[in-house]
Structure formats: C-alpha cells, structure tokens
C-alpha cells in the first residue's frame, strides 16, 4: 500500500492489520489513520472487529500481521504499558474496573501516584474529584467502592481513568451505551475540549445520530476488514453507512404497531410494589400483546423494579400476578415457572455463562423441555439453538462456540434467544439493545413486536428515549423510584418524556 502524505502526517496509522483467534479471524486487514485533533468514528456490525482493533491499538492484543505507525514511526505495543507510555489511552467496551477498589484507586491503577512506593492518597482523591467534576459527576465519591456503582457511573469512572492518562489518542469503545442523553451531552463537551487541545479521539458507537453530532471522519469495518475510510461524518448519508456496514438496505427501523385488542387479558399485574426507599408504589399492568416501555434517568430505579417483579430481589410490599395467579415474593423460580423471563442489564455478570457453549446458554432456562427423566437430548438442544441463532443472525455461527469469544452485541442476542426458546408469557427486557448494531437492532425490534403479537406481555427498559417511544405501546416514566407518568406512547413525544424525566433535577 502506498503511504500518502496524509498518512505520513497522521498521529496514528494502521495498515493491513490482522488478528486471529482460534477458529476465527477477528481482523482480516484493517487500514485507517487518525489525525491529531479529530474525532474518528468506527462503525461496524456486531462482531465486525471494532473492539478487537481497539485492543490491538492499545497493546492488549498483539497483532498477527500488519503495521502500526505512531507519529510516522513503526511501533509495536507489546503490552498496555507501552501503549500508555506513547500516549494511547483506552476505555474498553467490557468495563475493566476492579470491584472492591475505590474510584480513586481505579482511576490511577497502573500509574499510581506515589512517593517511594507509598500511595499519595489525598492527591489521588483530589485529582479524581477534579476529573469526575469535569465529567459532570459531582455525585460520585472518589472513596466509593467501584463495584457498588451503577453501570453508568462505572462508565464515568472508566472515562476519568482514560483522562487521567493525559494521552494523545483517546479510544472510546461504546462509551454512550449506558449513558442517558444528558450524560452523553457532557461527554461530548469533554471530547470537544480535548480535540481542541489537539488530542485525537477514536469513537465507537452504534448510534448513528451521535456519530453525526461528534464525529469528523468515519471508518466502516465489515467482517474484520475496512470497507470505507475517511468518510466525512456529517455529510455521508445514513443509508450509505448502513449498507456499507450490513451490505443491505434498511428503511423503517421500528416495526408497525398492531392495534391493541382492548379486550386482551391482563397478563402481568403489579400492585403497590415497594422496596425500602429504593422505589415505592409501583403499579404496572401489561396486557397480552402489549409492549410497555419504562423511561427514566440512569439510576432512577428501573432495573430494580424489573428485578423485583421478576423475584430476583425481594419486595418489601406489593404483589405480582401473572395470569391472575399471585407469585411468591423473592422467588425467581416461581416467576420463571409462571412464564416470566428477564434479559438482565449486565449481560456479562448477570446473563451469561461465559465459558460455556452458546447452546447451553440458550437452553439453560428450558432444560426440562429437552429432558426425559432428567436426561438431556443434546442433539435437540443444538438443533433448536441453531435455529434461533440463525434467526437472530448471531455471528460467528456455531452453537458450540464459547460465549466468551462472541462480540458484545452477539452475546446480547444469545440472552434474548434464551427467552425466545422458552416461549414466555411475560418478557422483561432491561436495555435489550445495549451494544447492538443497527441491523440487529431492527431485528430485535421486529422480534419483540412479533412476540407481542403472539400474545406475550413485554416490558422494556431503555435509556434511549427514542427507542422506548418507537417500540412501546404504552410508556411509563420513572423518576427517583416513582412512576410519574403512565400513558399511550403515541400521546407523548421525546421532549415531553425528557422533561418528565428531568423534572426537579438540577441542570
């Protein structure tokens, strides 16, 4: 490949990068370059190789082939420290923080502030405070145990950590996936500040709107290869991006709502659910075929409401009924037997058996339907699972793969497949499209709609207000553990929801 003059000026340029894992080529030849002071966006479907690319660039993986130039010099980042020394800082997709250590400790892990080996704790705390303030989070204490923060706050800590490295190149792998709109705004402010100082940013997101807002140039990956690079982020057409990414044309993202039968039976009835001061007085009724969306700020308690309905947390008060039968409090088993299913918020720690095969992850909740006298029919499990993974387009295919090796979005599809297999009466989805690409996203919407049409009652929690409005028949807005609005989705718009969500919040 000829190195153009532009290449030579680039802060970072990458040529012919190849990375193979056992059984799969994650990167099959990637070329692109990043200039100082720009926001370079990476786009691609789930499993396209974005995160792998990031890990190679930050020294976490060694490439099998190809060349990385840093300020024109060929470099080899043998380990993360080498990359950090050169000025590359990364926020990984799978949050890599150490639960049990404080926020400040996590921010400075690996580059601790110390004198003769002794930690300068006050200094670390002070600087962490400053970084968090800069990210608009006065509410996170540097002394807090990171493991006790919500995912969103953990994401903020990761960003603080990356900022603390004072890098020349900041890589962010889906930082916005767990943030609410307000927080994304703050994040973008910080990014603009940085680029103004000449720092380059590589930004990964599945939300095209964000790319348009913050990005300068776009590189599209497909199946581990660069299919387009250097596209102007603001001008390029959405349809073009989508077809570059997926190889097909998508138009209407949200499926058509069928008109709801007013006589449909109430499948899920929740009355007066409360859990200490976390949330209280939650009433929720979902009819067969209805999709109910829960909107709210991160940390407003939506996940907890869902988990309590499901019995994963024990309610202090209130009742949950499925098809008119009251469920035992705090028993997941009872909920599952009654036909409930939950796609949890944190797929890695709550949803998946990472070191087990895809098919085992899918059948784990419906084992008995594959068993005679407790003996499992392995073959039937595999056949049914492959049908589902094909339908959901999980890549790479093959139900004997370990889930750990799948990309984030594909892992999410595996969790969904679990409950599709079980044919639930009630499906609770907590951030079902987090980290899922546009193509798959519309497939998931389609699926949810189909499920609802087949008579399933669906509850969706999402931080993406547009998604809630597009998908749900009815919208509930949750604020500080209370339901502050309950009404049909077509009678409310995005700005009204945001108003409700933010009401009483300091701006």
């Amino acid at each position: 490949m000829v190195s153009s003059p532009a290449r030579a000026n680039a802060l970072l340029s990458v040529q012919g990068l190849v990375k193979r894992f056992p059984g799969v080529t994650a990167l099959g030849g990637v070329d692109f370059d990043v200039r100082a002071g720009e926001v370079h966006c990476l786009l691609g479907q789930n499993g396209a190789g974005k995160s792998t690319l990031i890990k190679v660039l930050s020294g976490a993986h060694r490439p099998d082939e190809g060349e990385i130039r840093w300020r024109g010099e060929v470099v080899e980042f043998g380990n993360p420290t080498a990359a950090m020394r050169s000025g590359v800082a990364a926020i990984y997709q799978e949050l890599d923080l150490v639960a049990g250590l404080s926020v400040a400790d996590n921010v400075f892990l690996g580059h601790e502030l110390s004198t003769a080996g002794f930690s300068r704790r006050a200094e670390a705390r002070r600087r962490t405070r400053a970084l968090l303030d800069r990210l608009g989070h006065r509410d996170i204490s540097p002394d807090r145990d990171v493991g006790r923060l919500s995912v969103a706050h953990q994401q903020v800590v990761s960003m603080a950590r990356a900022l603390s490295l004072d890098g020349q190149l900041l890589i962010m792998d889906e930082p916005s996936a767990v943030l609410d709109p307000d927080e994304v705004r703050v994040l973008f402010g910080v990014i603009r500040e940085l680029t103004a100082q000449g720092v380059a940013v590589i930004y990964i997101s599945h939300r095209l709107a964000e790319i348009r807002e913050i990005g300068d140039r776009v590189t599209v990956l497909k199946d581990g290869r660069t299919v387009a690079t250097g596209l102007p982020a603001r001008e390029v057409k959405t349809s073009e991006l989508i077809s570059l990414m997926t190889g097909r044309v998508l138009d209407n993202v949200y499926p058509q709502r069928a008109s709801l039968d007013p006589a449909a039976p109430e499948v899920l009835v929740v009355r007066g659910l409360a859990d200490g001061d976390r949330f209280a007085g939650v009433d929720l009724t979902v009819r067969a075929g209805e999709v109910v969306g829960l909107a709210g700020l991160v940390g407003s308690g939506r996940s907890e409401i869902l988990e309590t309905v499901y019995g994963a947390r024990k309610a202090a008060e209130g009742t949950v009924e499925v098809d008119g039968r009251r469920l035992r409090r705090g028993s997941v088993g009872a909920a599952v037997r009654a036909g409930m299913g939950l796609c949890p918020e944190e797929r890695k720690s709550q949803g998946l058996l990472l070191d087990q095969a895809v098919y085992r992850n899918i059948t784990v909740s419906s084992m008995s339907s594959f068993a005679k006298f407790g003996f499992l029919d392995d073959r039937a499990e595999r056949v049914r699972s492959s049908q589902l993974t094909e339908a959901l387009d999980v890549r790479p295919a093959g139900v004997d793969r370990l889930v750990r090796g799948l990309s984030g979005g594909n892992q999410q599809k595996v969790v969904l497949a679990r409950w599709l297999l079980r044919e639930c009466r009630v499906l609770l989805l907590d951030e079902p499209t987090r980290g899922v690409d546009v193509g798959a996203r519309s497939e998931i919407y389609e699926l949810v709609r189909q499920l609802a049409d087949s008579g399933v009652a669906v509850v969706v929690v999402s931080s993406d207000v547009e998604e809630v409005l597009g998908l749900a028949d009815r919208v509930l807005v949750v604020r500080e553990g209370r339901v502050v609005h309950d009404g049909p989705a077509d009678e409310i718009d995005e700005s009204r929801v945001l108003d409700l969500v933010m009401e009483g919040q300091p701006a």
Binding site: R20, F21, P22, G23, V24, T25, A26, G28, G47, D223, G224, Y310, A312, V332, G333, A335, V336, R337, L342, P344, S349, Q350, G351, L352, L353, L354, D355, Q356, R360, V364, S365, M367, S368, A371, G374, F375, L376, D378, R379, R382, S386, R395, P396, A397, G398, V399, D400, R418
Partner: protein
C-alpha cells in the same frame, strides 16, 4: 497455535458430536491427552524399574483397589468443585460414617437383620453431613472453605466421641464376604468405583442436574436469574458428596474390617488434588469426571511404583512433587496444542 481461519460470516457447520460410549472414550482421551501421557509415562517408568512385578495383573488390581476408596470421594468432589464449592470435611465424614456404621448398636441390628443396615447407616450419616455442609453454605452463607473446615473439626471430634477413640472391629457375617468377593475376576470395590465413575459421568454430562452444576459453578448470579434454584442445587451437590463419602466409608470398612475415627486422614487434600490435576477448575464451572479418574490413577500408580522400587522415603516426597508439576505442565501444553 494452528487455528482455522474461517471468516466469521462464513457459515460454520456445527460440529456434530455423536453420543455413546465411543464419544465418551474419544472425548475423554482427547481432552485429557496430557493426563493419559503422564499416566503412560508413569507406567513405562514402572515397567522399566520393576518389570513384571509392575505389569502383573495382581499388581494392577492392587492399584485399582487402592484407588477405589479415594476415587469415589474424588468423583463426589468433582461435582462440588464444578459447582463452585470446596469441601475440606470429606475425610472427617468418611471417619464419622465408618464409626457410626460399626458401633456395637449398629452391628447388633445388622446381625439381627442384614448387613445392608450398615451400608445404609454409613450412607445416611454421610448424606446428612453433606446436607449440613450444604445448608450452612447455601442458606447460612458461610464461605465453603470455613464451613467445611468447621465440619472437619466437628465430625472428627464426634467420631472420636462415639468410638471412644477405639478402633471398632466388624463382626457381621456376609458384609466382608460380599465386599471381598470378585466379579469376573474384578474385586467388588473396583466394580463399585467403576460404577460410581460411569454414573458420575452420566450425571454430570447427560442430565439436567449436571448442566445446572456447570451453570451454578460458572456464574451463580446468571444461573439464578435463569431460574435455577442455586441454593437448593448447592445443597444437593454437598449432599451428593456426603453420600459418596458414606459409600467410601463402607468400602474402607470392608477393606480394613474396622471403623475408626482416624480413617480418611487428609482425604480432603488427596481428593482435591486428584480433581484439580484432572482439569476441573477450582473456581468452578468446568469439570471432568474422566480427568478426575485419571488424576486418582496417577496418584495411586505413583505410590505403587514407589512401593515397588524401594526408594528412600524422603526422596519419594521430592520426586512426587516434581512429577505432579510435570504432569500438569504436560497436560497444559498438550491441551493448548489441541486448541481446547
């Protein structure tokens, strides 16, 4: 590492795995190449240094008989460790079961009715101990290490109190006769071990119980949210191990014709070592019965080869340490090469 280089989008034909004995043997040998190689090397060592005395059928049966008791415990331990637990009290449970099953009272009833009473007593005591362990861990939320350490102390103390620290001799006709017999030339104890191993393999790999064990050990929170009653399952795992300990106690009673509070000394370390060397993850979520069986056989063959060779006792200990490390390294290198 030689990897296959399929592009992700390319449709991969799902590897069809046949079930049945051939698969069992094939996959067991495949995944445990390193262990098989280690065992074969050990056997070659045995033949070279002790010749016919090692390769003799009687000697092989001696090795297997020795392996049988700790083998049964190790199979139970495989379940507990795969399920994310650990049990330090196995030796003490064996002791307590052996003592309880051989008290004068129990033997009296057995004499009046049938020797099977002793077997049931041992199984009952073992199972009950396991139940207590499991309940403490699952419902009392005491760390497994500490809970079973406490059981270790308590069960051995209880065994000493019951037996009054005397060795209790078995005088029940039929009992010894049954267990000392052979089936087609294979001692009953070895047959029991084989049955437990095969049963354990089926249970772990072919049933919902086994599948849940992997899930509970791999990610208990995910298992819980998937609708598995993790606590009940944990109790069942420890109870199963308790039953195995009870069975091991019966076998030990048969072998020694005694019940004693000193039986089963340090079985916890032996069993855990066999399980872990066999490739079961100490952190849970991955376990193999075949590996455990190989692990037990490696340890017993090792001490048999030492016995045959008249080595100095201290040198044996040093050699044992070295051989363990070599076996593990071998297993790892070969497992990595085969891409597993």
């Amino acid at each position: 590492m030689s990897e296959d280089t399929a592009v992700p989008t390319q449709q991969r034909t799902p590897v069809a795995k046949e079930s049945g004995i051939s698969a069992l043997l094939g996959s067991a040998a495949g995944r445990n190449t390193g262990l098989v190689v280690a065992l074969v090397l050990l056997c070659i060592g045995g033949v070279v240094t002790a010749g016919d005395r090692f390769a003799d059928i009687d000697n092989v049966l001696t090795i297997l008989r020795l392996a049988a008791v700790i083998g049964v415990v190790s199979i139970g331990m495989t379940f507990v460790i795969t399920g994310g637990g650990i049990d330090l009290s196995v030796g003490a449970i064996v002791a307590l079961s052996s003592v309880w099953a051989t008290t004068l009272a129990t033997q009296g009833i057995a004499n009046d009715t049938h020797w099977i009473v002793m077997v049931f007593t041992a199984l009952l005591v073992g199972g009950a101990c396991g139940l207590v362990n499991g309940a403490l861990i699952a419902y009392g939320r005491v760390v497994a290490f500490i809970a079973t350490l406490a059981s270790l102390a308590a069960a051995r103390g209880l065994a000493e109190i019951i037996s009054n620290r005397k060795t209790q001799i078995v005088n029940v006709p039929g009992f010894a006769a049954f267990f000392d017999a052979s089936v087609l030339g294979i001692p009953v104890l070895v047959v029991i071990f084989a049955l437990v191993a095969v049963g354990g393999w089926v249970l772990l790999n072919r049933t919902t119980f086994g599948r849940r064990t992997f899930a509970v050990g791999g990610n208990p929170e995910a298992a819980r949210l998937a609708g598995i009653d993790v606590r009940r399952h944990t109790v069942m795992l420890y109870s199963l191990l308790g039953l195995c300990c009870g069975l091991a106690a019966v076998m030990l009673i048969a072998r020694t014709t005694t019940g004693s509070a000193t039986h089963g000394g340090l079985y916890e370390l032996d069993a855990i070592a066999a399980v872990v060397i066999g490739g079961t993850l100490l952190s849970g979520g991955r376990g193999t019965i075949a590996g455990t069986v190989f692990g037990v056989l490696i340890f017993t063959t090792l001490s048999n080869v030492f016995t045959l060779n008249n080595l100095s006792i201290s040198a044996q200990a040093v050699a044992k340490g070295a051989i363990i490390v070599v076996a593990v390294l071998l297993q790892q290198r070969l497992a990595r090469r085969s891409g597993a």
